[in-house]
């Protein structure tokens, strides 16, 4: 078992504390699984209090024993109910709160009302942007894990090439991919932050199954029916059509995001040409992407290259197009930064994001997706694998 080291947790907590102080927030109460894991090393059912100054306090309901085993934090106590949280904080010297930060981007309204009541007269404010800002910059420890993700992830594509066949359903291919990953330790779930946002372990669509879906992606897919209306369907994979596989393995909670195109046979010219434009986009973005450049500039460049091609109306979706072509990734699939229209955040070493220039046509979707690390010198590819169309 890999446990997050104490030094790592200390650094993360210190970064959040600096932001809390700047905003005059007395402390943050962290509850959501991904954030809880990031700052405490455990997702055992807990409230993690991070004071603007002082040592964090992990208050655990279920299970205390595992939290103690998994978390390297110094102060871990058992707390049975919500009502005990305030007295527990007080008994550890934390009281007289004026402002407390919560994850109001994910905390359900009914729970918000309860916390507001419990901590009255303190003001409950949103700390989610601060938390997501800290999480945006990955540490060496996190990068080590992400590199480990790639060693497994890179084994998948040759496995697909060896096992994909004409007449196989998209669902059968999805099942094979998931089983390949699951046996190697994929948790079987992917965390996403956005409300109502649902992500399957993979996104496998072929040929004409590229209709847009309720999900904000360039490539939709029918899914198995109107109740789960995206991605792989019962459609059979045919010859001479693109099979888009968008996937990420997971190690220690962390994912990379990667897309490759497979084809049994030969692709029509508009698809191979559009694929080349996607390659051109990542190549040119790699030239531009240095620390200090605003994220929005990268999307702008992608958009310009797509607009100058014959496939402008197919970039990031068809008939509707997205206003972004990349997203931060790590413990969740929708982390900061957003590589999208008007996003001003300047690139900074340690940022990790997926870039996914894709072109969607009624007869298929093509494109490439890699996850990149921002370094002092520019982008480093974390999803290292052959970048061409994978012909079978």
């Amino acid at each position: 078992m890999r446990y997050t080291p104490k030094s790592e947790l200390d650094q993360r907590v210190a970064k959040l504390q600096a932001l809390l102080k700047k905003q005059d927030i007395d402390g943050a109460l962290i509850i959501q699984n991904a954030d809880l894991f990031y700052f405490s090393g455990t997702i055992q059912q807990s409230h993690l209090f991070i004071p603007a100054e002082g040592k964090p306090l992990l208050m655990v309901k279920n299970t205390f024993e595992r939290a103690v085993e998994e978390s390297a934090l110094d102060n871990i106590v058992y707390v049975d109910s919500l009502r005990e949280i305030l007295p527990t904080l007080q008994s550890h010297g934390f009281s007289g709160f004026k402002t407390l930060g919560f994850e109001l981007d994910v905390l359900p309204a009914n729970l918000y009302f309860r916390y507001q009541e419990l901590f009255r007269p303190a003001k409950v404010v949103d700390a989610s942007e601060l938390i997501r800002t800290v999480r945006m910059i990955k540490s060496e420890y996190e990068l080590e894990i992400l590199r480990e993700v790639n060693t497994v992830q890179a084994q998948l594509f040759p496995y697909i090439s060896a096992n994909i066949s004409e007449g196989m359903s998209e669902l059968k291919l999805a099942a094979m991919i998931e089983a390949f990953y699951r046996e190697k330790g994929h948790p079987g779930l992917m965390r996403v932050r956005g409300f109502n946002t649902e992500l399957h372990q993979q996104h496998v669509v072929s040929g004409s199954n590229t209709i847009p879906s309720y999900f904000w992606g360039a490539v939709g897919g029918r899914g198995v029916g109107p109740a789960y209306a995206q991605g792989a369907s019962h459609k059979l994979i045919g010859r001479d059509e693109p099979v888009l596989v968008d996937i990420g393995f997971n190690v220690g909670g962390y994912s990379l995001d990667q897309t490759r195109i497979f084809c049994i046979g030969k692709l029509a010219d508009h698809l191979t040409q559009a694929y080349q434009v996607a390659i051109e986009i990542i190549e040119q973005i790699k030239q531009m992407a240095k620390p200090g450049v605003p994220c929005g500039k990268l999307h702008e460049l992608a958009r310009q290259i797509a607009d100058a091609s014959p496939f402008a109306n197919h970039f990031t979706g068809y008939p509707n197009q997205l206003t972004f072509c990349g997203h931060g990734i790590g413990l969740e699939q929708d982390e900061l930064p957003v590589i999208g229209y008007k996003f001003k955040t300047p690139l900074e070493p340690g940022m990790v994001f997926a870039l996914e220039p894709k072109f969607t046509f009624p007869d298929g979707a093509v494109g490439i997706e890699n996850t990149y690390l921002v370094t002092q010198d520019g982008l480093e590819t974390l999803t290292v694998f052959d970048e061409g169309i994978q012909y079978v």
Copy 2:
């Protein structure tokens, strides 16, 4: 593709309208995927307005075309942004709201603030209990789907018996099960309503991997690490130990929940004896469970039988025990009713719930889970399959 029929949607809407009127709520705005699917037949990104009186209005952002294809509702319009919702409602004759119901049990606080602002001076109240109450009683249409779930679900257990082997990792077995289901059309996701509640497609744990987890279940499991800390792990399946498989197939959005125990070889006496107590519990509950009996009585009876056995301290978890042994199921895994301590809701024909008496020991967990339909005459088993331990 199966689309929810108009008559079905009409009935559901009418039921909610009756409850809205009773509570003096002018209408409900429904956004969350499971609820949206239930009342409109689509999960395309939408706001569904159900007035206390009159026809519902589905306001769709993404994608309009699929919503029109999938939903049998009469009034479907395109709406580009949140700001357009109120004017759109007004232009359809809905205005002067005093009280509006939202799904405040799942709606994130930040979104709640936005809606509150947009609909000022209307009061935003919680309609989630009303929605969940309507969804609690399944229609003939829904029961037809649930029976179809069982025809696939019942194929899984012989497949496991034929393929499980000593030395296979729990993850390998989980991968096999998921692939078996996925190819047949399982969406690859399970919807749960509770905040921070995460459910994998299956729960596969063997022998000693029964330590409690952050999840509210009788049987925990290590999972793949502290970031995803429940269920199947790299542990190898051994001889003479129980392998607990807790799973549900999904058809048209609906799941059943079912648990069976597998064993390669022979189980220790305390495990087979505890299994018999679990069987005794479902048999006795079946005698008691008639319309009108409060749900809590069923749990009370289960608890009494467990307490009278030598395994009282192992019922619904060890060392900590749960205060429920069953839960409603359908589009979500945690629907009403709750078969738990002090729950007063009387049984009613059309309720569907899983009953899962389980006993957890340091060397393994045993028990059984079936999903039952409440009829005028008592319980009907929806998860029809041999109820003994599956020896291999």
